[in-house]
Symmetry: C2
Subunit: 207 residues, 2 copies
């Protein structure tokens, strides 16, 4: 059913809000009416934050992570291990790994994974810049931390082949049973790999 | 856990977005990263739509519905029955009733219901302006279409008392079993009222 709006301003706001992921026209209307109920100040701040985010955003020249300056604070941090680079799909994974507090190297944000169905090839990703970083000779190990999907595996292999010409160690994050999972409910592929890739029990005592 | 953001622009956008109803910090981050992926044009349009909605919005001087002009298109429509006024809580109910296509009178948007717990008294609502509309003598019937909650019932009664001084019919929308509902699962109060307020079977054949 075509919804009739009593105001073109409202209709326009609902249209734009409903283009956001996970926001349908009903939710968009709820958000718009909430904005009308809140003080003008909040709507102004939200509007400005969205505008500034998109127009003033910068990406680190080294790792392509989102950044306030030309080079991000992680790449500039002398306390981090500059010989260790973790390759991830997006900013989201950088934040997730930073939250673990377990990684103290640098990152390289690809901007996605190779996915022919979505029309994303190697040239759409920051793979060449990764190869250049490795070619500079300052990187000892590249850790691949992409999704464990077919697209992620394809991208892992593509990068592995590209880097094979350089004296760099290429590793991949461990796949196995999630902490807190019950073996009974683990899928067969994960369970199978977790047996093949078993680690020394003494190493598991570190945490 | 306190999430660290790689950019203050991102952090700011996430903060403002997460103030929206039903949007937590995780969803706000997803929305912000989506904005970064989309073209600049979309973010600009969204930002402007939010700004314009809140700063340029107007309300109808007669019925207080949201409107592009001083008086809304419903109040100005000569094809509608100007002797019939439906009292609702908000714009949302106007849109819901308009969607039914069953009502051809005018509206009066109260802006809420009397709710002492939320600190909303009769003076915070558009009740006086409703009394003024009735006092003008042009209205034959006021239909109360508020929520069937204690607050809605209180507001209904308050308006009924206020209007008792005028020669106007005050009616309330029918409460009963929802179309498509099974009697077995209806709550007792609704079922009880639906028996007390039974209607002539011939009338039910109109639809």
């Amino acid at each position: 059913m075509i919804q009739k709006y009593p105001s073109t301003l409202l209709e326009n706001a609902v249209s734009e809000l409903s283009a956001l992921p996970g926001v349908g026209r009903k939710t968009a209307l709820r958000l718009a009416l909430y904005l009308l109920k809140r003080d003008v100040d909040y709507a102004e701040k939200l509007s400005l934050a969205i505008h500034d985010l998109r127009t003033q955003v910068r990406y680190c020249e080294v790792c392509h992570n989102i950044s306030d300056k030309a080079v991000c604070s992680i790449c500039l941090n002398p306390a981090r291990d500059h010989r260790l680079v973790c390759v991830v799909e997006s900013i989201r994974e950088v934040m997730a790994i930073e939250n673990t507090g377990q990684f103290h190297g640098l990152y390289h944000v690809l901007g996605g994974v190779i996915s022919p169905i979505d029309g994303i090839g190697p040239n759409d990703l920051e793979i060449d810049s990764l190869v250049n970083r490795v070619a500079s000779g300052e990187i000892a190990e590249v850790i691949l931390a992409l999704s464990t999907t077919m697209e992620g595996d394809t991208t892992n292999y593509f990068i592995y082949k590209k880097l094979s010409a350089y004296p760099v160690k290429v590793s991949v994050i461990a796949r196995g049973i999630s902490i807190g999972d019950e073996i009974e409910y683990a899928d067969e592929v994960t369970l199978g790999r977790s047996i093949l890739n078993r680690t020394d029990f003494k190493d598991s005592l570190r945490f």
